[in-house]
C-alpha cells in the first residue's frame, strides 16, 4: 500500500514537472545559426547531386518559426535566400512547378532593391521559362535586371560599395 502511494506520488510529481516545462523558443542567434547550417548541409547535398537531401535541409529551415527579436528585413533576407535556394534545387531536380512555388513564396516575404529579391526574380523567370511561359519569364528577368542595374550603378557611380545587400 505504502509502495503504491509512493509510486503514485512520484508519478504525480513527474507529471506536474513535465506540464510546467515550456518548450523554449529558439533565440534569434539560434534561428540564424540553424539557417546557416541548412545552407551548409544543402551545399554538401548539391555537391553530390542529392536534391532530396538539399531540399529537406532547406525546407526544415524555412518551416522554423522566426523569433520575434529578428528584424523584419533580416527575416526577409534570410527567408528569401532559403526560398531562392529551394527554387534552384527544384529546378536542378527538374521540378519547375515546385521551383515556381518556392520563388513566389520567397517574393511574398517582401520586395527590396537587393540581391535576394533579384535572385528570386531570376529563379521565377527560369521556372516560368521551363514551364513555357516565356512572356512572364521575360518580365521577371527584366525586373531582376532593373534591380541589378541599380545595385551596379550604386557600386560604380558612387565609387564605393552600395549600402546593404
Amino acid at each position: 500500500m505504502t509502495k503504491r502511494l509512493a509510486s503514485l506520488l512520484v508519478a504525480l510529481v513527474a507529471a506536474v514537472g513535465c506540464a510546467r516545462q515550456e518548450p523554449s523558443a529558439p533565440s534569434a542567434a539560434e534561428w540564424i545559426g540553424q539557417a546557416r547550417e541548412a545552407h551548409a548541409a544543402a551545399d554538401r547535398a548539391v555537391a553530390r547531386e542529392d536534391w532530396s537531401a538539399a531540399r529537406d535541409a532547406l525546407r526544415r529551415a524555412w518551416q522554423r518559426e522566426v523569433p520575434a527579436a529578428v528584424g523584419a528585413d533580416d527575416r526577409r533576407v534570410v527567408r528569401q535566400d532559403l526560398a531562392y535556394r529551394l527554387a534552384e534545387v527544384e529546378l536542378s531536380a527538374g521540378a519547375a512547378e515546385d521551383a515556381l512555388r518556392w520563388a513566389e513564396d520567397g517574393l511574398r516575404e517582401g520586395r527590396a532593391e537587393d540581391v535576394f529579391t533579384g535572385n528570386l526574380l531570376v529563379a521565377r523567370g527560369r521556372a516560368r521559362e521551363a514551364l513555357g511561359d516565356d512572356r512572364r519569364a521575360a518580365q521577371d528577368y527584366f525586373e531582376a535586371l532593373e534591380i541589378n542595374e541599380a545595385l551596379l550603378r550604386r557600386t560604380f557611380d558612387e565609387g564605393a560599395p552600395p549600402e546593404g545587400p
Binding site: S27, A68, V70, A72, D74, D81, E88
Partner: protein, 164 residues
C-alpha cells in the same frame, strides 16, 4: 472709613459696570440691580441704538466666530474625488507596464549594415537573368561566398544568448 466713601468692593463693581457698559456684555459677576440701572441709563441716552462703530465691531465678531454654511461644491459628485485619482494611478501603472514589456522585448535591429554585394556577384546575377543553366550555377557559386559574409554580419547583430 466713613459711610460716604466707597468700599473697595463697591469700587471694583463700579469699574466692572463701566467696562460692561462700554463693551455691551458682562465678563464678570456684577450686581444685578446696578447692571439694570446702568442699562436703563444707557437706554435713556440713545434709546438702545447701536453706533456705526459698534455695529461694525459686532458684525466682525460674528463673521469671525460664526460657523458659516460651506457653499455647495460644483465640482461634481463625491465619488469622482476618489475615482479620478484611482483612474490616474491605474493609467500610470498601465504605461509603466507597457514600458517594461516593451523594454523586455528586444527591439528588432534595422537590416541596414549587411555587407554590400561584390561586383562579381552582380555581373553573375545579370548573366543568369535569361542566361544558360551554367550561368545560373555561377550565380549560385558566387552567392555561396557572399552568403557567408551576410550570415557573419547577422550573427554579429544577433549574438548568442541574446533576445528570443
Amino acid at each position: 472709613m466713613s459711610d460716604d466713601e466707597p468700599t473697595e468692593e463697591e469700587l471694583r463693581e463700579a469699574e466692572a459696570l463701566v467696562r460692561a457698559l462700554e463693551r455691551g456684555s458682562a465678563q464678570e459677576a456684577l450686581p444685578e440691580d446696578a447692571l439694570e440701572t446702568a442699562a436703563l441709563l444707557a437706554y435713556s441716552r440713545d434709546g438702545g441704538a447701536l453706533s456705526d462703530e459698534r455695529r461694525a465691531a459686532i458684525l466682525d465678531d460674528l463673521l469671525a466666530n460664526a460657523k458659516l454654511p460651506q457653499p455647495k461644491s460644483t465640482r461634481g459628485p463625491s465619488w469622482l474625488a476618489w475615482l479620478l485619482p484611482a483612474v490616474g494611478v491605474a493609467a500610470a501603472a498601465g504605461v509603466a507596464l507597457l514600458v517594461v514589456v516593451t523594454a523586455e522585448r528586444a527591439t528588432p535591429p534595422a537590416a541596414a549594415g549587411l555587407p554590400a554585394p561584390p561586383p562579381a556577384l552582380l555581373t553573375a546575377q545579370a548573366a543568369a537573368a535569361g542566361g544558360t543553366r551554367r550561368e545560373a550555377e555561377v550565380l549560385g557559386e558566387r552567392m555561396q561566398s557572399y552568403r557567408g559574409e551576410v550570415y557573419a554580419a547577422l550573427e554579429a547583430r544577433y549574438p548568442r544568448g541574446g533576445a528570443r
